[in-house]
């Protein structure tokens, strides 16, 4: 590798190529093909120069260079420096392998990525073909194609839809959203505790979604309660069940998960450690 570190000037790069890359690997593959390079024997010095030239060009155009591109630049530079170092006679103690090629891992990643990238073309073809046929009821589904919700399986989309519904409900009520001046502020923790108690009290039957929300509906409280609901779901304290597509969403204490869990049985949601309290404050601020 007799190339000087300050290699021959790189040909001007057509600016149109800059935005087209999915990531650093995509850019590298492009450079490799463009310069008809053997992927198994990459001239790292040359490729690194080309790669850095691209990044510089991006910066020159005031495009933000994503962190991933910089990480790859660092990787390339590291490989380059390892290649320039005189090879130790034998790697000592390391899996008994002979001094491995520093490029090996990168080559493997490029080959892997190339395979998936190639498959994308196939997927896109299939996508196009499949869109040439129509199924019954498809018009009603619209573009967001969705197979019917299996019996009893809960769909998070329906939960969100339910929230939108409630917010709309408030919108149609003239007092909504403006009447909370001077009201005690609901914190997420308080909302979680209230909701948790309400659901616990309801026993195995649980409560229906609409019952989570205190009337009259106030936008802030609804959002807080909904966040509390999501948090309780996320913590698997409760589960959401929708038995029929048009049925109500029921929320009940998750018996199975509750049994799995060790410790913290009662009044959970009112305690909670400092860390989660902090993130709750953050969550709260977002909605102020």
């Amino acid at each position: 590798m007799p190339v000087a570190p300050t290699a021959a000037p790189v040909a001007a790069i057509p600016p149109l190529t800059l935005t087209a890359f999915e990531g650093p690997l995509d850019l590298l593959l492009h450079l490799i093909r463009e310069h008809k390079i053997d992927i198994a024997d990459i001239p790292i010095l040359q490729v690194t120069e080309h790669y850095l030239a691209h990044l510089r060009a991006m910066e020159a155009m005031n495009l933000t260079v994503a962190g991933e591109f910089l990480v790859m630049a660092a990787t390339l530079l590291e490989i380059k420096s390892r290649l320039l170092l005189p090879k130790p006679p034998k790697e000592v103690g390391e899996d008994g392998e002979e001094g491995e090629d520093p490029r090996e891992e990168l080559v493997q990643r490029l080959l892997d990525y190339q395979r998936y990238k190639a498959f994308v073309a196939t997927l896109a073809t299939w996508e196009g073909d499949r869109r040439q046929v129509f199924f019954r009821g498809q018009a009603a589904y619209g573009d967001l194609y969705e197979l019917p919700v299996p019996y009893g399986e809960f769909s998070s989309a329906s939960l969100v839809k339910a929230l939108m519904r409630l917010l709309t409900e408030m919108g149609s009520d003239g007092t909504a959203g403006t009447a909370h001046v001077g009201r005690a502020k609901v914190t997420l923790r308080l909302a979680m505790a209230t909701l948790w108690r309400k659901i616990q009290r309801a026993g195995s039957e649980g409560i229906i979604f609409d019952e989570c929300f205190e009337r009259p509906l106030v936008r802030f409280d609804v959002i807080m309660t909904f966040l509390a609901l999501l948090e309780l779901l996320r913590q698997a304290r409760i589960s959401a069940i929708q038995e029929e597509m048009l049925g109500e969403i029921r929320l009940a204490v998750d018996v199975q998960k509750a049994e799995d869990e060790t410790g913290e049985e009662d009044s959970a949601g009112t305690d909670g450690d400092a860390e989660s309290a902090e993130s709750e404050e953050e969550a709260l601020e977002e909605f102020e």
Binding site: L16, T17, R115, A118, L123, V133, A139, E146, A157
Partner: protein, 206 residues
């Protein structure tokens, strides 16, 4: 009460002809792929019997060259669909142009990785793509093309992701076995990709 009585009645005997007619009717009303196993269970028949009848129906439709309908083997079942050559006109009639809102390239790349490596974690997807996949994973989850599939038994217990029946349906596949071996594609598409790259360089293709 009448409903439970109905379930206890003797399984009826269907002639092949009657079974095919029934399946045709059911394929029509069911707005999702129909699996032989489900039908067999309800009717008290053997799954092979139902499958054979469904295959007969597929062939029957295939022979009607002038018909606007076909029966597809898709997402593990059978489903009636319109023929591809009608796409443009039907799109016009439905006021829903075919081929809009397709998946983005990052989404397709990520989906390709999930399809072949499932179950797979976000970190593993990112290792292959070399970029963050958080946003893309969320989109794919929202569109139900992937789903959570347990957690990996490594520190941090990261969530594993797998493809869904909707994934098969979206790409018109019958099962995951329809996916070609990854190596074959790489070879076959290598030249195409080079072409595409050339176009990309000149900015003719996005």
């Amino acid at each position: 009460m009448a409903a439970t009585e109905a379930r206890q009645e003797e399984p009826r005997v269907y002639t092949l002809e009657a079974l095919i007619a029934l399946l045709e009717g059911y394929l029509f009303v069911a707005i999702e792929p129909v699996t032989p196993a489900d039908v067999a269970k309800v009717l008290g028949l053997a799954a092979v019997e139902v499958e054979e009848a469904l295959e007969d129906l597929v062939n029957l439709y295939a022979r009607r060259s002038k018909s606007g309908l076909q029966i597809m083997r898709i997402a593990g079942g059978y489903q009636i669909a319109t023929k591809p050559e009608l796409a443009q006109d039907i799109g016009k009639l439905l006021a829903a142009p075919a081929g809009k809102a397709r998946l983005s390239k990052p989404a397709l790349e990520t989906l390709a990785i999930v399809a072949y490596q499932q179950p797979v974690t976000v970190a593993e997807m990112e290792a292959v793509r070399g970029v963050s996949v958080d946003g893309v994973v969320k989109t794919l989850l929202d569109r139900r093309l992937i789903r959570e599939d347990g957690r990996k038994a490594v520190p941090g217990r990261p969530i594993l992701y797998a493809t869904t029946p909707e994934f098969l349906h979206y790409f018109g596949l019958s099962s995951l076995e329809d996916l070609p071996p990854l190596e074959d594609i790489a070879v076959a598409e290598a030249e195409k990709a080079q072409e595409h790259d050339a176009l990309q360089a000149v900015g003719l293709e996005e």
